[in-house]
């Protein structure tokens, strides 16, 4: 985990090489060598010490809130989602936390119960804990029961000695949270290096990667099979985990077992819900209760005050200091936390539950209205003309020849959220990362190379990026298929860029920041 390790390793290896080599050591080498030996001994004496504690980090915007508001957000998150070592599975969200639900039909006298399971009895494992959802045992009032044995034919569960005595009619869940716990283990082993414990795309290796790993906390995934403005499906994420994203550092995890893959997909969905929950709740309070907005208000008020003094206006009133304004805001927050916050939490939870439930609705998946138009020279030519037309403007980003070098890659753009120019020219995604339009001549497609994948990229766009949705308007599904056919022919095409139908492409001058 810690990079110091690699340094030690590198140094050690280098020095061992030196020691083994027949050339006698120079004084410099000897010095390094001695240092190494000292370090080694120091490590031996001091021991490893504790590694860093895994924690869910707060967003910068949350940390910018005044103390009381930040605490309220943290409290809500802790109650709703827990910590990395004690996860909270909030049933409100459509996440398969794992376990089988059921109810007790009758109670035997030998610590056995006959049950009716809602789901698959094959998931009832020995030693699995039973959590009581209703009846006298519910609400953590009694010790957890443990499955000693399960007979699928008689639907009889024998409970381990000790524990609780249920009654007929009690609802329960066996092995609750197993999948989320497994998902977390798989994630902590394979994913957090890049995606981070919190799923913020800021693991220790993240800053060395281009493109950067996905930050799940906005709930946005780029490559989905779903319609505009809809979340990703389980299948979408499953496919990404299985096959990776070509052209990026996201590898294929095809060697993970099916249960592991499914669990890690649930865990990622859960992290995405958690992250977006925080983002939305914080956005609700930023304008009134963030430190930066308070500072900004005081600054503006002070400037106005000074101006009034200069003009000798009588009604000039000295604005409060930042400290006083913060205190006032804290007072207002107390009122807000009683009057509005519970509703905001409810609304956010409802919304996210609705989004992620709808993602799994078959209606949400985008299905073309017509099957793929046959890939003929005529179709490709129609696609080419559309690609180069002002109806689509594909070429402004992907270039006249599809090399991903359109004029937009040379323009300086502003971050739409901060209104500041990005440091680097070219396009960016919503996370502020530089983004290259795909080079279509390579035949490498991040969202999948099936024709349907390309169709969906065109129809709904690529979420969280400047790639817009082309479908559902004047451009017909047939025309989109023509573009797919053309684009898929590009890697094998020897066509020259010139075209009488092509508009005159404008290319911005390098390093030429526009005046506006």
């Amino acid at each position: 985990m810690c990079f110091a390790e690699f340094d030690v390793l590198a140094l050690t290896v280098q020095m061992m090489f030196r020691v083994m080599s027949p050339i006698s050591m120079s004084s410099a080498t000897r010095l390094i060598f001695q240092c190494g030996a000292v370090c080694g001994c120091a490590l031996l004496i001091a021991g490893c010490g504790k590694g860093p504690q895994a924690e869910f980090k707060l967003r910068d915007t949350t940390k910018d809130l005044i103390d009381a508001a930040e605490k309220a957000v943290k409290k809500t998150l802790d109650e709703g989602f827990g910590t990395p070592s004690e996860l909270v599975a909030w049933e409100r969200f459509p996440v398969n936390y794992g376990g089988v639900k059921g109810s007790v039909t009758s109670v035997g006298d030998d610590k056995s119960i006959v049950v009716k399971l809602d789901g698959d009895g094959g998931k009832v494992r020995k030693q699995a804990p039973i959590l009581w959802l209703s009846g006298s045992l519910a609400g953590g009032k009694s010790a957890e029961a443990v499955v000693a044995n399960y007979d699928s034919e008689t639907n009889q569960i024998k409970l381990a000695p000790g524990g609780s005595h249920p009654e007929a009619g009690d609802r329960f869940v066996v092995g609750f949270g197993e999948d989320l716990a497994l998902g977390r283990r798989v994630y902590m082993k394979n994913c957090l290096h890049c995606h981070g414990v919190t799923g913020d795309g800021a693991g220790p290796t993240a800053e060395f990667l281009n493109p950067r790993p996905r930050d799940y906390r906005s709930g946005e995934f780029k490559f989905t099979s779903t319609k505009k403005s809809e979340k990703a499906t389980r299948d979408d994420l499953h496919r990404i985990v299985q096959y990776g994203i070509p052209g990026t550092y996201m590898p294929s995890f095809l060697l993970l077992g099916e249960r592991e893959t499914k669990s890690v997909v649930e865990y990622v969905r859960w992290l995405a819900i958690r992250g977006e929950f925080e983002k939305r709740l914080t956005a609700e309070m930023t304008s009134d209760f963030s430190e930066s907005s308070i500072v900004d208000t005081v600054k503006k008020a002070t400037a106005a005050y000074k101006e009034k003094l200069k003009n000798n206006e009588k009604d000039a009133e000295k604005p409060p200091s930042v400290a006083v304004a913060t205190k006032t805001a804290a007072g207002e927050f107390k009122k807000y936390s009683q009057e509005d916050l519970p509703a905001a939490i409810e609304e956010t939870a409802n919304l996210l539950a609705e989004f992620w439930t709808r993602a799994e609705d078959p209606e949400t998946v985008l299905v073309p209205s017509v099957p793929r138009v046959e890939d003929t020279p005529e179709s490709r030519e129609r696609g080419r003309l559309l690609y180069l037309s002002d109806n689509t403007k594909c070429y402004t980003c992907h270039g006249m020849t599809g090399r991903g070098d359109g004029s937009s890659t040379e323009d300086f753009w502003k971050d739409p959220f901060t209104n500041q120019f990005y440091e680097k020219r070219g396009l960016h995604d919503i996370w502020g990362n530089p983004l290259k339009p795909r080079n279509l001549t390579l035949g490498q497609y991040r969202g999948g190379r099936r024709p349907i994948d390309l169709f969906r990229r065109l129809y709904v766009g690529i979420k969280a990026t400047p790639m817009p949705a082309f479908g559902g308007g004047k451009i017909t599904d047939e025309q989109l298929w023509d573009i797919v056919n053309y684009v898929m022919s590009l890697p094998y095409s020897t066509r020259q860029p010139s075209s009488e139908a092509a508009p005159k492409g404008h290319v911005a001058k390098l390093d030429d920041k526009p005046a506006h």
Binding site: M1, C2, E5, V8, T12, M16, F33, G36, A37, G40, L43, C48, G49, G51, Q53, A54, T76, E79, P84, L87, A89, E91, R92, G177, E178, A181, K228, S229, R280, A283, E284, T286, S287, A303, E307, S337, Q338, E339, L341, I345, D390, N391, T396, S408, D411, P416, N419, L427, G461, K463, P466, P468, A469, G472, G473, K474, I475, H506, A508, H516
Partner: protein, 295 residues
């Protein structure tokens, strides 16, 4: 010979010494304390919100003093720019070497970041901080139009109700791609075909705290602001700074005033401007000094 064997021996001793940190480094020193190998607890939380968050049990205090029986008032106001104003130079002149010059540079592109006419500041958003409880106000009109002409968004500033349809049009002979940047709304990013007069439908599902930006990813200079809001008490100041908000329940209200040039990405000129509305006509002057707009 003796020397050589001594060196060899010392080398092997040193090598084994060095192997120790190497082993240590390999043994997973510094792993996350509750990393992948730790057994993790999963706590069950039912759907129904039993754990009190915030202070849900407390009865909400009475809303802003509103008594609809006392009638409704109209607020007519003006956002006044208190300094001398020199009109800003256009973003680019007519015929400039920009993208799609035939369409975009057919006329100069106005710099709309500060526009003042007759001493009034245009494109300021004035809106109630929170809808008064127990009022629904006028229902939203069925749809509003958001057009693009000469690579400029029309209007530049738009108030839209949650659930209301925004018809995104295009009067140009080239495609635009309209891209919203909501903090709570999922972004809308759709190509709008040349001469699109039927309109691509944009519907905001959530109210935003403050206006959000709308851009076009083809033409970097294009920019507009939308305020999706869940009540009808909002307006944008006209080209000479005037605005009107109808059907306000009589009583004390808190307004927010926002302008795109009040801060790098826009900002509030007033966080909670208290106005007492009486039945009938009400006047309001909001003074904005040049310094507040970074001038």
């Amino acid at each position: 010979m003796l020397n050589a064997s001594k060196t060899t021996r010392s080398r092997s001793v040193l090598a084994s010494l060095l192997a120790i940190p190497l082993t240590l480094a390999n043994c997973g020193c510094g792993e996350l304390v509750n990393g992948a190998n730790l057994k993790v607890a999963v706590k069950y939380r039912p759907s129904t919100n039993e754990a009190p968050t915030g202070d849900a049990s407390a009865t909400p205090a009475a809303a802003t003093e509103v008594a609809t029986s006392e009638g409704v008032g109209i607020l007519r106001g003006k956002v006044v720019y208190t300094g001398a104003f020199t009109p800003l130079a256009p973003l680019y002149e007519k015929g400039a070497d920009v993208k799609d010059p035939a369409v975009c540079a057919a006329a100069a592109a106005p710099n709309e970041s500060i526009e003042v006419k007759d001493g009034g500041l245009a494109n300021a958003f004035i809106y109630l901080k929170k809808a008064p409880k127990g009022t629904s106000g006028a229902p939203a009109e069925s749809s509003v139009i958001f057009d693009q002409k000469g690579c400029v968004f029309l209007p530049h500033a738009l108030v839209v109700r949650v659930g209301q349809t925004v018809n995104v049009l295009n009067a140009d002979s080239i495609a635009h791609n309209t891209h919203t940047n909501g903090k709570k709304n999922t972004s809308f990013n759709s190509i709008v075909s040349p001469n699109e007069r039927m309109g691509v439908k944009l519907i905001y599902k959530q109210a935003e705290q403050d206006p959000i930006s709308v851009v076009c990813d083809v033409h970097a200079w294009m920019k507009a602001y939308h305020l999706p809001i869940d009540h009808p008490y909002a307006a944008v100041s006209s080209e000479n700074g005037t605005f009107e908000i109808k059907d306000l329940p009589a009583g004390k209200h808190e307004f927010k005033v926002w302008h795109e040039s009040a801060g790098p990405s826009g900002g509030l000129l007033e966080k909670a401007l208290v106005v007492t509305i009486k039945p009938g006509d009400n006047d309001l002057t909001i003074n904005v000094s040049p310094s507040q707009l970074g001038k």
